[in-house]
């Protein structure tokens, strides 16, 4: 350290005060710029939503909130949303746990295929499941017709099923990573001492997993209540907050009431985000500090094995069937109604146009998002300034924010001059950038944690200026993080629906919005084909990402990385 100070002194004595100032403060300047960007594109829109919900024709008013809480209709919408969140969270956790248990403790032969199937939904947009349910159980559905079924798909049950299927991989991934880092010795010694499988599960595995389970549960809850597509496509006559917000804005043009619905939706999300952060306190990015170990398969007693196998098989089977059915349906005009195999759905001009638009928007978003993400990560890890925690919290909060809220926020904040962005591609891209910033930032942070600051200090000691150090040392190290951030943002942006559905201008359709429209209109073939194209794009991204992470040992940003 003394040497570093000496070199700073030497430099300052050698002149060029500007350069000196830059060297000393570049991190802070960078932080200030990034802070302004976050404030402008993330906080400002949210504040606008809050203000709109409180401002009537004659200034400040609580009348809209009064309307919300005094009308049965809105209350039921809230009740449905929370109930959906609760059911979904519990079911996802149970299934996720069974799957994760089988892939980490079960027989070798099952591990790979199970893991693969449970991760399938990751490459699919969440509304794929709504689509496949319509194909099978809709009024023209295959199974409906085959068995003359009278089950009402459109409603609460339909939404619960599609949402659950969509969020299983998230539960699985989070629980699996905690299970992997759980040292199997503890369980094994209990087993050796004669404890039954059930006792081990009850007294060792689950208690040790508790923080991880809680974390996963909170995240799933937040993402479920904010999810827009499934509820909008399958909701039928059952109201949910996210699609109601959409109707309120696009149908009734009531921005005040739409803002109120958003604020109500955001409240549990913010609450949970803080609990989540509190839980993470002190052990960032890892729940239990252990090295991931693959444990030997154990003899699982039938008492545990049978129910676990049933749940696992049903869940994995359902996911696989849903996926396959959409793939098959993409080759028919309407599967089950028309019987000619056709490629027309893939060649459909407007849907290809929308894919092209989506790629353009996502590319711009990914580029900006990766740059800002990496810089933010650098500032968060290396910076020592007031408000660092705040910047970190803000940049990671995008996940917990319902897309509908940022959609309305952007509409309110950027639709009038001098900040007019609506109607263009930039508003869509920027919205995606700041909603999905967390991925890029986390990838950057985890990468930076692997490099000790000593390398940078050594560079400084040898007389390199900050810029040189940044350019020669930091950037090359961060490059994989940049690529990861880019690809993650790209593939999240390309399937995202809930925010952009507010921001697309007529005549400039995005693929996700096109799928949503087609599904609502019953154009199942087009919707399926467009979904499959998105799946293909995301799959390619995943493959590149996998390749890079293998090359650089970056690991996925979601996976726990050991902090230094």
């Amino acid at each position: 350290m003394a040497a570093a100070e000496l070199s700073v002194k030497l430099q300052s004595s050698s002149g060029s005060k500007v350069k000196d100032f830059l060297n000393a403060n570049l991190v802070n300047i960078l932080a200030a710029v990034l802070f302004l960007l976050l404030a402008f594109f993330l906080l400002f829109p949210i504040v606008m939503v809050l203000l709109k919900s409180l401002r009537g024709a004659e200034g400040f008013t609580l009348q809209y909130y009064k309307a919300f809480f005094s009308k049965q209709y809105y209350f039921q919408s809230l009740y449905n949303t929370l109930l959906l969140g609760a059911i979904n969270t519990v079911v996802c956790l149970v299934i996720g746990f069974c799957l994760a248990y089988m892939t980490t403790r079960g027989p070798w032969i099952l591990r790979k295929p199970l893991k693969l199937i449970s991760l399938i939904p990751l490459i699919a947009p969440p509304y794929l499941f709504a689509l496949s349910l319509i194909i099978m159980f809709g009024r023209n559905g295959l199974i409906t017709k085959m068995f003359d079924l009278h089950w009402q798909l459109y409603g609460f049950s339909g939404v619960v099923i599609s949402q659950t299927l969509a969020f299983i991989p998230l539960a699985f991934m989070m629980i699996e990573s905690t299970l992997m880092s759980l040292n199997p010795n503890l369980e094994e010694s209990a087993y050796d001492m004669g404890a039954s499988e059930a006792t081990i599960l009850r007294t060792i595995t689950i208690p040790l997993l508790a923080p991880g389970l809680l974390k996963a549960g909170l995240l799933i809850f937040v993402m479920t209540i904010a999810e827009f597509g499934n509820a909008a496509i399958l909701g039928g006559r059952t109201p949910f907050l996210a699609p109601d917000t959409y109707t309120m804005i696009t149908g009734e043009s009531d921005f005040n009431m739409g803002s109120v619905l958003s604020v109500i939706l955001i409240a549990p999300c913010i609450l949970i985000f803080f609990i989540h952060n509190y839980l993470l306190e002190g052990k960032k990015f890892t729940t239990i500090g252990g090295k991931p170990v693959a444990s030997e398969p154990r003899k699982i007693t039938p008492l545990i094995k049978v129910p676990f196998m049933i749940i696992t098989t049903v869940a994995a089977g359902a996911i696989f069937i849903c996926f396959a059915i959409v793939f098959i349906a993409s080759f028919y005009k309407i599967l089950g109604v028309t019987h000619n195999i056709t490629l027309a759905n893939y060649l459909d001009f407007t849907s290809n146009q929308s894919i092209y638009n989506s790629i353009r928007v996502s590319f711009v978003a990914a580029l900006i998002g990766a740059v800002i993400g990496v810089l933010l990560a650098y500032v968060i890890v290396r910076g020592k300034f007031f408000g660092r925690t705040f910047i970190e919290m803000a940049s990671l909060s995008g996940f917990a924010l319902p897309g509908t809220v940022l959609g309305i926020g952007y509409l309110l904040a950027f639709s009038a001059p001098p900040l007019k962005l609506t109607g263009g591609i930039m508003i869509l891209a920027l919205n995606c950038v700041f909603r999905f910033l967390a991925v890029g930032v986390e990838a950057g942070i985890s990468k930076l944690h692997q490099i000790h600051i000593e390398i940078e200090e050594a560079s400084a000691d040898l007389g390199a200026s900050f810029l040189t150090t940044f350019y020669r040392i930091v950037l090359p190290i961060m490059f994989p993080a940049f690529i990861a951030g880019f690809l993650y943002t790209f593939m999240t942006a390309i399937v995202s629906l809930s925010a952009v559905v507010f921001l697309v201008s007529p005549g400039f359709d995005l693929a996700a919005v096109k799928i949503f429209d087609a599904a609502v209109y019953g154009e199942i073939g087009i919707a399926s084909a467009t979904t499959m194209k998105l799946v293909l794009i995301v799959m390619i991204c995943m493959m590149i990402l996998n390749f890079i992470s293998k090359k650089t040992r970056l690991g996925s940003s979601m996976a726990p990385t050991k902090p230094t």
Binding site: R139, T238, T247, G251, P506, Y521, G522
Partner: protein, 330 residues
């Protein structure tokens, strides 16, 4: 001396600017029909008058939001083809220029504001559609009266759009309220609700849903019916004996325009037989009688409507609707 000189220069510049704009014959308009139809209308205006319409395409709701945000300094000269609530709003707020166009003489008065503050360059309506195959299989006939839809045999087999998200459905609602009166009208809607499977987001969706056989009957916008018939969907369509409703495709001139004469020329053109012929060929019901793509020569029977009242009551009716009809819990 110097001041005079400046004034002369200024006047010269101003006159050049004005003359320039008059010669260029260009106006900015907010247009609210579909992108295809906007382009058709703009091209028609260019062909007939040489006036270039710089149009921005927006939905009716967006045009309304934009007007509210910009008032009283609008960045457009006029609105072509928004919906009637925007016309009423603009008139009520004093944003319009009244202009009684001689070219609209002889057009039924439902198509225009009595003071000339706005004109409906066309109207659109709703119709009943049925799936030919499904009806034949069940041995049912197309209903002949709106009241026939209350028959329990249709339970879960009818689909219509939601007035919370669709302007077409709003029109259906105010038509039934006008047809039966407020109290009876709501009773009708509540009884109808028992047979409705669900309310679709878009006003055109029932045409497709019925065409694909997911439902036997649908109440739907007339906009796409012709197109879907041409596509070969097994559709039947009819207008029950009581008639149907309508809503205007509304145009008006902003008070703040600097090109009033040009705008007036356009309003004049929109009242001609030629323009009606063009719009009728798309399928719109037009101010002047024309061969309609969907309805043919004879127009359907229309329920007597007060579009102004419909526009005023919209928010109130949405509220009643939400309380009475939409929620469905188990």
């Amino acid at each position: 001396m110097k001041r005079k000189f400046i004034a002369v220069i200024a006047a010269a510049i101003l006159s050049v600017v004005f003359a320039g704009s008059a010669m260029a014959q260009e106006i900015n308009a907010y247009m609210g029909t579909s992108p295809d139809n906007n382009a058709k209308i703009a091209k028609f205006i260019k062909d007939k008058t040489g006036i270039t319409v710089n149009q921005t395409f927006q939905s009716c709701g967006e045009i309304e939001a934009k007007m509210k945000a910009e008032a009283p300094n609008f960045s457009a000269d006029m609105v072509i083809g928004a919906c009637s609530p925007q016309g009423f709003l603009a008139k009520k707020s004093g944003w319009t220029v009244p202009y009684v166009s001689p070219a609209w003489k002889g057009v039924p008065e439902v198509f225009m504001d009595p003071k000339g503050d706005f004109y409906h360059i066309a109207t659109f309506s709703f119709v009943l559609v049925g799936n030919k195959d499904r009806l034949a299989k069940a041995g049912y006939k197309m209903p002949e009266s709106w009241k026939d839809l209350l028959d329990p045999k249709w339970k879960g087999e009818i689909v219509m759009p939601s007035p919370l998200s669709s302007g077409t459905a709003n029109m259906m609602r105010f038509t039934f309220l006008a047809l039966y009166g407020d109290a009876e009208g709501w009773k009708y809607l509540e009884a109808l609700d028992k047979n409705i499977h669900h309310y679709s987001r878009s006003g055109n969706a029932p045409t497709d849903l019925v065409g694909r056989g997911e439902f036997m009957l649908g109440i739907t916008s007339d906009e796409n019916v012709k197109k879907r018939l041409n596509d070969g969907y097994p559709l039947l369509w009819s207008i029950p004996a009581e008639g149907t409703g309508y809503d205007g495709t509304t145009s008006f001139i902003f008070k703040t325009t600097k090109k009033l004469e040009t705008c007036k020329k356009i309003i004049d053109l929109l009242g001609t037989q030629e323009f009606s012929d063009m719009m009728a060929a798309i399928g719109y019901v037009t101010p002047r009688p024309a061969m309609n793509a969907l309805y043919g020569k004879t127009l359907p029977k229309f329920v007597n409507l007060d579009l102004g009242k419909a526009s005023d009551d919209k928010a109130k009716n949405n509220d009643i609707w939400k309380q009475k009809l939409r929620t469905d819990f188990k």
